[in-house]
Symmetry: C2
Subunit: 375 residues, 2 copies
């Protein structure tokens, strides 16, 4: 935790659990990514953390925005973004929502199926559309299912159809998997994308944009490559596959923009053992899977966790405070906490700025959603 | 869906997704369970669905309440329950919350560790306490982790200690696992409990209450035994292990009380295939894992799903509307929907009255939480 957040916690002593997010870190992340990918437009993935303070900051820095719903579009507009800086990036949209987005001025839409393309052509005529393709997602800590995207061969057919509809076939998107630590993963996807561009060009459709998606990681318990490494790898892959005809590019960082900017301050509610000779303590925190830490599902995202105690680190099982037996955070991952940890101690969950506040349940077990302070 | 709910949906045409819950079914469930277990006191597990209408109905029917937090205690009091009908059944409580519950009049508390027992003795002096023991949970569709409870040998030591503290060692609780379809599972747990009663009696501590927990199922895709079968099995097990000295008993139905009382009305947002020769359609609904269907995690709870189309049933993958790739409901479970299903069609998710509304996330991806109508 940096000094600014530490001072806030020390002076304000907010009730726990809460997320404290340092806007300066978000600004640093934006500038680092913009520096590493100078030719790409940054579309912040609003779903990662839609706090108005974050959106206003990014509007000021020149960011564009990737949105998942009309509510998110409205939040961006309220934060001062103009509609030409907003992409409606969800491939699954009600047609009424497409019409609302269009009325709000949004002209950039994702799709991955014929029916979605037809909805856009009907309800957002003249808009730019990009087709999401399926990629493997190897090397990601939060790998993607096949939920989004279609096979490149189908994408080709759809973009060809788009050319004869009342929309502009603008480009292709893919996603290499969230928390992607292998910088070469973009290369495979860009090879497929470049093939698609060439095939369509041969059929008279000139695509202009590649949406490189998100996947930029946050450092959790292990190191991740820095923005520069991603920039270099992506730049090389673009040159390798597109030669001197490099298209416009878009990136959609979410986790990579806000993940390391926030820490969750939590409290130990109970420490117990299940029998006299139980060799691992159960440590129950006042936040769990349903209070904002949904990404601990299958122990996928492993947040660094620290306390102020100095005792020797001993193995623990970490769990949340609800009466739900699935509300266990880490049982297989080898977490260790000081032997002298006490009930009431503060526990800091680091790198928790992304996918926490809005994942929190409304009131499961009567517990309130996670509060956030942007400082 | 029964006629009452069908009429409501037909006349009111609420925006989807929404949960419509028939209070008459809840009343029927209460009466059936009370009839099947005439000697047990029913403590409704508020976390399953804390709608004020449900709580008021159950107050009127004579139910008591199992609560997980001070907020839930306050909801029960507001619904008209007196504090002597409320159990603070969470074994993981902040001491400040125990003190608040005590100030509100609650005198019955769960624990499973020495530290929790000490908190209760300090902040809820004179209260009745029951110790939760670990059981196997075989046969449950939503099996429990080891998060709650301690080994019986430790429970014995703790209840013995309780006798020398400023609390009344009142009984033992266990939970055979949620959606428990094997009625004999209570037998094993009651055998352990009866041994504990005898051992403690030999040491001068006379326990009076057995909390049989929840686990009573809702019919999802396959049949479940009726309340009568549970009543008979539990009654026989009590007689077998306690002879003619049967203790007071408590049951904590949640799912079994409200599960079958509610249906979620949803809408098809998109139907797509990933390639031209893809043999399974992806059907995307306007509700998913983060909108209230969290119990589809690992495809554990399999809701019956129906539409109004008559086409032949063909295999589908069901997913939610968010940009989260983990928001897939059923991929391995063999779900089939009509071949003529269309975008915009209504889809009914049955037996969705429990663990849905409050599991919904605050605003993940900008989507609003699940609305509920109690009729």
């Amino acid at each position: 935790m940096n000094e600014k957040i530490a001072r806030f916690l020390d002076e304000r002593r907010p009730a726990t659990p809460c997320l404290v997010l340092d806007l300066d870190i978000v600004e640093g992340n934006y500038r680092a990514l913009a520096g590493a990918l100078p030719d790409a437009r940054i579309y912040y993935a609003v779903k990662a953390n839609p706090a108005p303070e974050i959106l206003r900051l990014l509007v000021g820095l020149g960011s564009s925005f990737d949105t998942a719903s009309v509510n998110e579009i409205e939040m961006c507009l309220e934060a001062g973004a103009t509609a030409d800086r907003i992409s409606y990036g969800n491939t699954i949209k009600k047609e009424a929502d497409i019409a609302r987005a269009y009325a709000l001025g949004v002209r950039l839409y994702a799709f991955d199926s014929i029916d979605e393309l037809e909805k856009i052509a009907r309800s957002a005529p003249g808009s730019r559309v990009f087709c999401r393709i399926l990629t493997s997602g190897e090397g990601a800590e939060w790998p993607l299912s096949r939920k989004f995207g279609c096979e490149p061969e189908m994408a080709r057919a759809l973009l060809l159809q788009a050319a004869s509809m009342n929309v502009e076939p603008y480009g292709v998107s893919f996603h290499v998997g969230s928390q992607q630590k292998d910088v070469t993963q973009w290369d495979t996807a860009l090879a497929q994308t470049a093939r698609l561009f060439k095939e369509l060009e041969a059929q008279g459709v000139n695509l202009r944009m590649v949406n490189l998606g998100g996947g930029f990681p946050t450092r959790y318990r292990t190191d991740v490559p820095d923005s520069g490494a991603y920039g270099t790898a992506i730049d090389e892959a673009l040159r390798r596959h597109f030669g001197n005809r490099i298209p416009e590019t878009i990136v959609e960082p979410g986790r990579g923009m806000v993940g390391n900017a926030g820490v969750i301050q939590s409290e130990v509610v109970l420490i117990s053992r299940k029998s006299a000779n139980d060799n691992r303590r159960w440590v129950y925190l006042d936040i769990g899977k349903f209070g904002g830490l949904a990404e601990t599902m299958d122990e996928a995202i492993q947040y660094p966790i620290s306390t102020e105690r100095a005792g020797s680190a001993e193995p623990v099982i970490l769990a949340g405070p609800t009466c739900d037996s699935a509300d266990v955070l880490y049982e297989k991952a080898d977490y260790r906490l000081p032997s002298d940890l006490k009930i009431g101690d503060k526990v800091t969950i680091h790198a928790a700025g992304a996918y926490t506040t809005t994942y929190a349940s409304v009131a499961f077990n009567g517990f309130e959603p996670l509060r956030q302070y942007c400082i």
